[in-house]
């Protein structure tokens, strides 16, 4: 059965991942799960998208990684936000909110 996959515009993946890690450190699989939760199943990332993105965020210094033990007693690499990452999240969120409001006004999105 074909799944309705939401097309993510460029550059949005980063902010989504940062938000997913906003509460607590998570390992790779858990991040994907949390993102699915948060988007009500509309965004499901495969390994090929998730891990390169995580590594990119790590390189940019917005998240840092630490090895730990997951819920099913398995060694896993946990990621958490750095201070710079938190700042980046705030900045991006504000920017997105503004964009959303502008777009909403212009395109006349009706409240449902």
């Amino acid at each position: 059965m074909g799944e309705e996959r939401f097309e993510l515009p460029q550059g949005t993946l980063d902010v989504l991942l940062l938000k997913a890690l906003g509460l607590e450190p998570l390992h790779g699989w858990a991040v994907g799960e949390r993102l699915e939760q948060m988007t009500g199943g509309q965004v499901r990332l495969g390994q090929g998208t998730l891990y390169p993105a995580l590594h990119r965020l790590e390189r940019k210094g917005w998240i840092k990684a630490k090895w730990g033990v997951s819920e099913n007693n398995r060694k896993a690499k946990f990621y958490e936000l750095t201070r710079a990452g938190r700042k980046q999240l705030e900045t991006e969120t504000a920017a997105w909110r503004q964009l959303a409001s502008v777009m909403g006004q212009v395109l006349g999105v009706a409240e449902e």
Binding site: Y51, S70, N72
Partner: protein, 855 residues
């Protein structure tokens, strides 16, 4: 940004660990997915690849790959790699050794605090005197620097200093010391603070002040045992007592503006007032921050035009960057040598470029396949560039080793190359320079072959002919370039060699074998009057002549060659319109003329009996030529201010200051006529120098234990000193020429041999069709010699232009000397012919039958 860089660096260093972590992470993901019942259907390898890309180190990965490939290539052709490395090592090594010297003499920053602010201040002669003396600048006198110090706003300080040799006793055995006489502003100018005690104040520099001295830490340790300064330590200098008031700290070089001398004691400038009426000194100034030399020059020039300026200042002033005028001839020589070393380096690079070009052509197929498989031209160029870079780096490293050896050799051949050989940051600079050379070599050596090999028409579809033809042209051009540069180096070597030979053959005008000289100074405090000095000289002469083993001995105010002590005499010649002339004079006593073997052309020499008279003189031929043309010589009266002398003889010319210079008019006076305090004794003896020195020292100690003898110098060595730089130049450039010749000839041989190899089939066919061996040889020669001969012609032309820069280094040879050019041209042409002959003969021995069978 920085943290990103750091991440990338860590990713490079921890590659292995990161790979394992990634593997682990992806496996964990798969397990988590499985635990939730979701199969992960992704290609793990592609995920890994994507992650690696995100880590931003792909450039490093490709570099490593290319590097490994380049290394394999090198190992596959060891002969090629070895010859490339050797050629580059030779070229680089010479450059590095020379750079070491250039750094020490020309580029190294001066050891003083903020040396770029320091300037030299010089006065200028008026037009007439300048014409007579032969130069514009003059040493400033006291009124002048006091005026500058007072008035100049662009300078934060002015100080005067001069070197003065004294005899020190007191706590020491009598010893000759080089001291620096300085004004109170000297130490503040250099920012020198004493480690103990104080430095000079205006009070110390007054006439009649109690004698004071500042000493170096080394002197303090040597003479006073390094104990703390108590203020009661004294030193006897030229018979006067001085108190040691300060000790300078460790860094001696930073206090010493007169860099050539070992100075351990500093005295106030007023010290030398006893000897001269006018105090002349070198003057240094420090410019205020952000002031330029031109601005200082303008201000001082303007100051000199003011009506209240002291007399000497009004003729003008010259402000120079400190140290700019030092060792001018040496700097010129170094520049020329460096340029020639660069030529040799280029020759080496061209050799390697040719090698790589040939190799690149041979690999055309391989490169075409890679191109077809998707490697862009950029990637291929990078690959070839890396291979070239590997060779260049290896060659440069080998060159560093060779350069180290060459430097040791240089030290042995030319100790007077006046460079501080130790430390001073040279190692870093040389390494940096080596890196620069390696990069440049990569470009020169790699660019051309890479370009040609990856160009259009080099692909599988391009014919061998087109690519081969273009490469062939470049090869010929490179060979021509090699031979051309070799011609330049060869010609320069020839000119310098001939120069040296001619200089060595110059007759200095005196006999130099077995003559030992030693100087001493009679301090004014101990020998204040003329009669005292004459009395001393008489006694000293008697004692020296009486020493065992001494065949002949004489005294003089200064032996020939080098800037020795000579008198400037103002002589009036009655009957001549020219008025007074400044003539160089020497005083002599004892058997001076015979000891030095000076020849007499007319009349007689000054003998031992004449020494204490005041009324006779001997002139040299140059004097006669200049001032006594057409007049009777013997019996002419020379007059100075007080006395007159009668000319009793004419001596043969000898070269005065330098071997290269023509003889100047000179006058010999008896010691009795002008007894100055500086006496040099010349002794001819069969005994060893050490023995003679000991005897002289002993005799002086008996005669006056408060005096000390300077270092003894052999007259022979004085002459040799003059030959040192020309000899070194000739040898070094000779070495360059040999290396260049070998490289170029090997290059020519290689190219012709390669071409013969590539055309073996063609040669075989031609032979089968009836061509004789002779014709084959001629054909190969004809083709092979075109490039070298063209290069030779251009090279000789270039040498003619470039050798003009050598003009100041040459003696007895013109930069355009036809003989040297002709010889070099013939030699190089002949050598090229020989290099082509060997492969040509090999070509003629090709067996046509075998070739045809192989076809």
């Amino acid at each position: 940004m920085l943290s990103e860089l750091w991440y990338r660096l860590r990713a490079v260093v921890r590659r292995g660990a990161m790979e394992r972590e990634l593997e682990e992470e992806l496996r964990a993901h798969a397990e988590h997915a499985a635990a939730r019942g979701r199969e992960s259907r992704e290609d793990v390898e592609r995920v890994k690849e994507a992650c690696r890309e995100e880590r931003g180190v792909w450039w490093w990965e490709t570099l490593r790959q290319d590097g490994r490939y380049a290394w394999r290539q090198m190992r596959r052709r060891p002969a090629l790699a070895a010859s490339a490395v050797v050629a580059l090592a030779l070229g680089t090594g010479l450059n590095l050794a020379l750079f070491r010297v250039v750094w020490g003499v020309m580029l190294k920053p001066l050891p003083y605090a903020q040396p770029e602010q320091l300037v030299e201040l010089w006065g200028q002669w008026d037009e007439k005197t300048a014409a007579m003396v032969g130069q514009r600048t003059m040493m400033p006198h006291q009124k002048m620097w006091e005026w500058w110090e007072e008035q100049a706003k662009t300078l934060s300080g002015v100080a005067a200093y001069r070197v003065w040799t004294v005899t020190a006793t007191g706590p020491l055995e009598p010893e000759r010391l080089d001291t620096l006489l300085v004004t109170p502003g000297y130490f503040p100018l250099l920012g020198a603070r004493p480690a103990q005690g104080r430095v000079f104040t205006k009070e110390d520099d007054r006439r009649g002040a109690a004698g004071t001295a500042v000493v170096s830490e080394r002197f303090w340790r040597r003479v006073y045992g390094g104990r703390p300064l108590s203020g009661r330590e004294t030193l006897a200098v030229d018979g006067r007592m001085v108190a040691v008031i300060g000790v300078l700290g460790r860094d001696e070089e930073a206090w010493k503006l007169a860099s050539e001398k070992e100075v351990e004691v500093y005295l106030p400038l007023v010290w030398n007032d006893a000897e001269r009426r006018v105090t002349l000194a070198f003057v240094a100034g420090r410019m205020r921050p952000r002031v330029t030399v031109q601005a200082a020059q303008r201000e001082l020039a303007e100051l000199s035009r003011r009506p209240e300026a002291p007399r000497g200042v009004r003729n003008g002033v010259e402000v120079r960057r400190f140290g700019a005028g030092n060792s001018l001839v040496l700097k010129q020589a170094l520049r020329a040598l460096f340029a020639l070393a660069g030529c040799v380096w280029l020759i080496a690079c061209f050799s390697v470029a040719n090698l790589l070009l040939a190799q690149a052509l041979a690999r055309r197929q391989e490169l075409a396949i890679r191109a077809a498989l998707g490697a862009g031209r950029g990637r291929l160029l990078r690959q070839l560039g890396l291979e070239a870079g590997l060779l260049a780096a290896s060659g440069t490293v080998a060159g560093l080793g060779l350069g180290w050896v060459a430097e040791r050799l240089l030290r042995v051949l030319g100790p007077g190359f006046a460079v501080s050989w130790s430390g001073d940051g040279a190692a870093t600079m040389v390494t940096l320079f080596a890196c620069g050379l390696a990069v440049a070599a990569t470009v020169v050596v790699g660019l051309l072959p890479a370009w040609v090999a990856t160009s259009e028409g080099a692909g599988l579809n391009g014919t061998r002919a087109t690519a081969g033809r273009r490469a062939g042209l470049w090869t010929k051009a490179l060979v021509a370039g090699q031979v051309g540069f070799t011609a330049v180096v060869l010609v320069c070597a020839g000119l310098l060699l001939e120069s040296f030979v001619k200089l060595r053959a110059v007759d200095p005008g005196f006999t130099r074998e077995r003559v030992v000289t030693a100087a001493l100074d009679l301090p004014a405090a101990m020998y204040p009057k003329d009669e005292d000095r004459v009395k001393f000289a008489r006694g000293w002469m008697e004692r020296v002549a009486a020493l065992p083993g001494v065949e002949m001995a004489g005294l003089t105010s200064g032996v020939p060659l080098g800037y020795r002590f000579t008198l400037g005499l103002n002589l009036k010649i009655p009957g001549l319109e020219k008025g007074a002339a400044q003539v160089t004079g020497r005083t002599v006593a004892g058997d001076y003329f015979r000891t030095l073997g000076l020849r007499i052309k007319m009349g007689r020499a000054l003998t031992a009996e004449d020494a204490w008279r005041k009324d006779v003189a001997v002139v040299n031929e140059a004097y006669v030529r200049r001032y006594l043309k057409g007049r009777p010589v013997l019996g002419t009266v020379l007059s100075q201010e007080e006395d007159t002398q009668v000319i009793v003889g004419v001596a043969a010319d000898f070269h005065g200051t330098r071997l290269q210079d023509a003889a100047q008019p000179e006058v010999y006076l008896p010691l009795g006529a002008a007894p100055f305090g500086h006496l040099e004794v010349a002794v001819r003896s069969r005994l060893a120098t050490v023995a003679v020195t000991e005897m002289l020292r002993g005799a002086l100690r008996e005669y006056d234990p408060k005096l000390a003898l300077d270092k003894t110098v052999l007259l022979e060595d004085l002459v040799d000193e003059q030959l040192e730089q020309p000899r070194l130049q000739a040898y070094v450039v000779g070495l360059f020429a040999v290396v260049a010749l070998v490289l170029a000839l090997v290059g020519v041989y290689g190219v012709v041999a390669q071409s013969v190899r590539a055309r073996t089939a063609e040669i075989g066919v031609r032979q089968a069709l009836g061509a004789t061996k002779g014709r084959i040889v001629k054909a190969v020669l004809g083709q092979g010699l075109v490039a070298p001969l063209m290069g030779l012609v251009v090279g000789l032309g270039g040498a003619a232009l470039g050798s003009r820069y050598l003009a100041t280094l040459l003696y007895g040879v013109e930069p355009g000397d036809g003989r040297v050019y002709g010889l070099c041209g013939v030699a190089l042409a002949g050598a090229s012919l020989l290099s082509c002959l060997l492969p040509a003969r090999a070509a003629s021995r090709v067996d046509p039958a075998r070739v045809l069978r192989e076809e």
